[in-house]
């Protein structure tokens, strides 16, 4: 059996979110198993199942190289800017 990652959308308007993994021989069985395992209490309005092998992930060893350059760019956040007294709606 193949490993599948399960994503669930709780209700329309929200993102699908990863909730866990299941085993299945094909997509149809994966959807059925995902439904039984992850949505027994009305947790879902929609399910995605994706073969785990289809997911391309970043390497934790590259985390610094990938994500640290964003850390010192504080000017990307609105809180970086000082709004002069008396200025509103900005």
């Amino acid at each position: 059996m193949q490993l599948w990652e399960v994503f669930v959308r709780a209700r329309a308007g929200l993102h699908h979110q990863h909730v866990g993994s299941i085993h299945a021989v094909d997509a149809e069985m994966a959807l059925g198993n995902a439904r039984d395992v992850f949505t027994r209490r009305g947790e879902a309005a929609s399910i995605w199942v994706v073969p785990s092998t289809a997911i391309v992930a970043s390497d934790p060893a590259d985390a610094a190289e990938l994500f640290e350059p964003a850390m010192d760019k504080v000017y990307r956040h609105p809180t970086f800017y000082e709004v002069p007294d008396g200025v509103t709606n900005l």
């Binding site: 909730v19 866990g20 094909d26 027994r40 934790p60």
Partner: protein, 308 residues
């Protein structure tokens, strides 16, 4: 700093660990052992209750018990999936269980002769499981912690449905109340054993605490369980089968006797009333179900092949 030192500092600062992160081999091994034992317990734990599915006293009770047992199957699957992220396959874990190489909670090696046992299991066994599991929601290993959060959310209904069964029995005839008392007598001590040996006899605990896998000691959790459970027994009008049980006013705790640790080790080693039956049943489920998997796989393969 070595990798190991960096790792220890990271978890000590409540940092989380994800599957592809570097981790010490011993951390990985400890987690595979603990998570797979936990998964096996959920799956084997379906048997004592499944025993009453067809004989539940009403359709309502039957639907509830079915939902509960189904949840336990789900718990087992969440946990096997969490363990698989550490590089051991589910098939391997199940094979180890059936070969008698893996352990599971000793509590599930006791029989369920009456309907009251189903009440006692929900109330005491799921109750003890909750005590053990809530701190695991903050475990340093991300996939285990996430599985535990999902599980804990579902557990509280399990405990309540068990207590609800006993409330009904204790409000019933004398015979029904006696049934409830007998079940409490059977399950009380094995439930206390679910927290594991006394702290001074639990050599791996300190390392697990350092790694933020474990948060509280076995004895601490056992005390918490007793404090929570004794008043619930009194509400039912039942007697806890422990002559040493008394309330310590100054400490604000219920003091209790020592479980029979020899029995605990005997049952854990395989010599409980139901060990052989539980494993044999699991083996039969695997072997008898194999054709379904084979058929599904053959069907999937056929559909993947383009029509000639």
């Amino acid at each position: 700093m070595t990798d190991a030192e960096r790792f220890d500092a990271h978890v000590a600062a409540e940092g989380k660990v994800e599957p592809k992160d570097w981790m010490p081999d011993a951390y990985r091994k400890t987690l595979v052992r603990q998570i797979s034992q936990h998964a096996h317990s959920e799956i084997i734990g379906m048997q004592p209750e499944g025993n009453w599915l067809t004989r539940a006293p009403s359709l309502r009770r039957k639907a509830i018990l079915l939902a509960k047992v189904q949840d336990e199957a789900g718990h087992g699957l969440y946990l096997y999936a969490a363990a698989e992220t550490l590089g051991t396959s589910r098939d391997q874990m199940v094979d180890d269980l059936i070969a008698g190489k893996a352990k599971y909670s000793s509590i599930f090696n006791y029989p369920t002769p009456t309907w009251a046992d189903i009440g006692a299991i929900g109330w005491l066994v799921d109750g003890a499981a909750i005590m053990n599991q809530v701190p695991l929601c903050r475990c340093s290993y991300g996939p285990y912690a996430r599985a535990m959060k999902r599980i804990c959310k579902e557990e509280s209904f399990h405990q309540r449905q068990g207590y609800d069964i006993l409330v009904s029995l204790c409000r019933g005839s004398d015979r029904q109340k006696q049934m409830a008392q007998d079940a409490l007598d059977r399950w009380w001590w094995p439930s206390l054993m679910m927290f594991g040996p006394n702290d001074d006899a639990s050599p791996n605990s300190a390392q697990s605490m350092k790694w933020r896998i474990k948060r509280f000691s076995n004895d601490e959790l056992r005390q918490r369980f007793v404090d929570a459970t004794v008043p619930q027994a009194h509400f039912l009008g039942l007697r806890i089968p422990d002559d040493e049980l008394r309330y310590d006013d100054t400490a604000g705790h219920w003091r209790f006797g020592e479980p029979d640790w020899e029995e605990f080790h005997r049952v854990l080693a395989g010599d409980g009333p139901m060990n052989a039956h539980r494993i044999e049943h699991r083996r039969r489920a695997r072997d008898d179900g194999q054709w379904v998997l084979d058929a599904a796989s053959a069907h999937a393969a056929k559909r993947r092949r383009p029509a000639a």
